[in-house]
């Protein structure tokens, strides 16, 4: 009994200390004397790595998810005779939920794990230590540009995901299932509100960008610098980031749409 209590306390303390370390990492990277001139080229490079290189998977997944939504929506709605509303359904589910959430999950797998592995390997090969000894703060040089890049890229990727998803839905509904084009787009235009839907979706994407990138850079920076440690840290990034995204999504949805 006492052992279990002790173990529980140990886990609690570990969790709190990890939270403290990750918070201090964030504070050092973001608040401590930003240097925009030095940051900009590094930031561009990271935006390319985490954003541009994630484009293919986002485009392909977005299109397919939009197509599936169109198909599923049609088969259900047609039994109520309201298949004209399929455009509305596709757009709302993408903009409000699937766009930000699926993008964040894919982003955690594609870019988050890469960030963790890269920073972890830099730690294992003493590159971070040598940077410190040269007198360059790795928080600012390594962590900050990667963090900002993820934070900037995820909302943009989510917007791209939703856009190609709507196109995918339109392709299936209009060209394949033969829904009247005018009512497909008109229904969508009437029902999707900029503030309620698009902006709320964007807020979600921004929050997910923050959380996923934070988890990824923290796991990389805090990992045990061995091959086993890096592999565990990479796995943790994907698992923790995904859980955070799903949990946060529920809370944000409840706050945004709970009283509708």
């Amino acid at each position: 009994m006492l052992d279990r209590l002790q173990a529980l306390g140990h886990i609690g303390l570990e969790g709190l200390s990890a939270l403290g370390r990750s918070g201090s990492l964030l504070a050092h990277a973001l608040i401590a004397r930003p240097q925009p001139m030095l940051m900009f080229p590094l930031l561009l490079k990271q935006i390319y790595f985490v954003g541009v290189l994630s484009l293919v998977i986002i485009l392909v997944s977005g299109t397919f998810i939009g197509m599936v939504l169109g198909l599923q929506g049609y088969t259900i709605l047609v039994s109520y005779g309201s298949e004209q509303a399929v455009g509305q359904m596709v757009a709302l589910s993408l903009v409000r939920e699937l766009g930000p959430v699926v993008t964040a999950l894919l982003f955690a797998g594609r870019a988050g794990s890469a960030l963790t592995a890269e920073i972890g390997l830099m730690k294992a090969t003493e590159q971070l230590s040598s940077m410190e000894m040269i007198g360059v703060d790795p928080y600012r040089r390594i962590i900050a540009p990667r963090f900002w890049a993820g934070f900037i890229c995820l909302p943009i990727l989510a917007a791209i995901f939703s856009t190609v998803g709507v196109w995918g839905g339109a392709l299936v509904s209009i060209d394949w299932l033969g829904i009247y084009e005018g009512s497909f787009w008109a229904n969508m235009q009437h029902s999707v509100d900029f503030y309620d839907d698009v902006l709320n979706g964007l807020i979600k994407a921004v929050s997910f960008g923050f959380v996923v990138t934070w988890v990824a850079v923290y796991q990389g920076y805090d990992c045990v610098p061995t091959s086993e440690g890096i592999s565990q840290a990479t796995t943790r990034t994907v698992v923790y980031a995904s859980l955070w995204v799903l949990g946060l999504d529920f809370i944000l949805t409840a706050l945004m749409f709970g009283d509708l």
């Binding site: 003493e126 230590s129 940077m131 000894m133 007198g135």
Partner: protein
């Protein structure tokens, strides 16, 4: 060794522990300016940890580490980075930045710490690369270098800002005899030519004795012997003799502490 003015680093009553394990207990050490000082001792005695303490990457539990008059553990982060610009460190693995070419690796400290124009950076980098014999390899990436070459590039990077102190972490480990000879020569020549203070952490006895002016032998968390290479060779104490002559058993036991051998075998599972 009595005049305090001649010491660039002054470590007094340093204690450091990791978890329950004590690494250093009341360690005292003075590093003379402009000389090559070696810190030697068996593996696992915390020699690399000592370099990290001097560089401020780790904080001691108690004690002072004064580098050119500044007490490292009490410095603010920005002051510490300023002091570090006057130190160069050669890591065991070289620790080159893998996303930059050899040239960019050596130019990196210049770019972040100085406002020199591009052509001057180029000249300085080429001069340092020439000194380590790798001017021709400046376009290569770190992954294309051999172990000995990466260590030489890392050495060029460590001296590019003309630091007052250069720390070498196990510079000879895992090097073939030619690369080892090259490194030994380089360390000695650079120390004479540039006039900095060199600190070598190593357990390669012959190479280190050959170039060091002064040696500290560290074991069990404190300094067990100090002196010039000749003095240490002549030292009669058991511990020093075991290390200097590479005897497998002695005060540093061959066996990791364990229960009695016979009892353990008889006990079964």
């Amino acid at each position: 060794m009595e005049n305090i003015e001649d010491f660039i680093i002054n470590i007094s009553d340093l204690s450091f522990s990791r978890g329950d394990r004590t690494i250093f207990r009341d360690l005292n050490m003075q590093i003379p300016r402009g000389k090559i000082t070696a810190i030697m001792g068996p593996s696992g005695t915390g020699k690399t940890t000592l370099l990290k303490l001097i560089g401020g990457q780790l904080l001691p539990d108690t004690g002072r580490i004064e580098v050119e008059g500044s007490n490292i553990p009490t410095l603010s982060r920005s002051d510490l980075f300023e002091v570090r610009a006057r130190m160069g460190m050669l890591f065991q693995s070289g620790a080159l930045f893998t996303d930059m070419s050899v040239f960019e690796n050596v130019a990196f400290p210049l770019r972040v710490h100085t406002d020199l124009p591009q052509d001057m950076i180029r000249d300085v980098v080429l001069m340092k690369l020439q000194a380590v014999g790798l001017r021709g390899a400046r376009h290569l990436m770190p992954s294309e270098l051999s172990g000995g070459m990466s260590r030489r590039v890392a050495l060029a990077r460590a001296i590019v800002l003309d630091p007052h102190i250069v720390m070498y972490d196990e510079p000879f480990t895992g090097q073939d005899p030619i690369a080892m000879g090259v490194l030994v020569n380089l360390i000695r020549r650079l120390n004479q030519a540039l006039g900095h203070t060199s600190i070598i952490v190593s357990h390669d006895i012959q190479e280190t004795l050959g170039i060091a002016d002064y040696i500290y032998l560290v074991s069990g968390g404190s300094v067990i012997a100090r002196g010039t290479p000749a003095e240490l060779r002549a030292d009669e104490s058991e511990q020093v003799k075991q290390f200097m002559h590479g005897l497998p058993d002695g005060p540093v036991a061959f066996h990791f502490p364990a229960d009695d051998y016979q009892t353990e075998l008889m006990k079964g599972l």
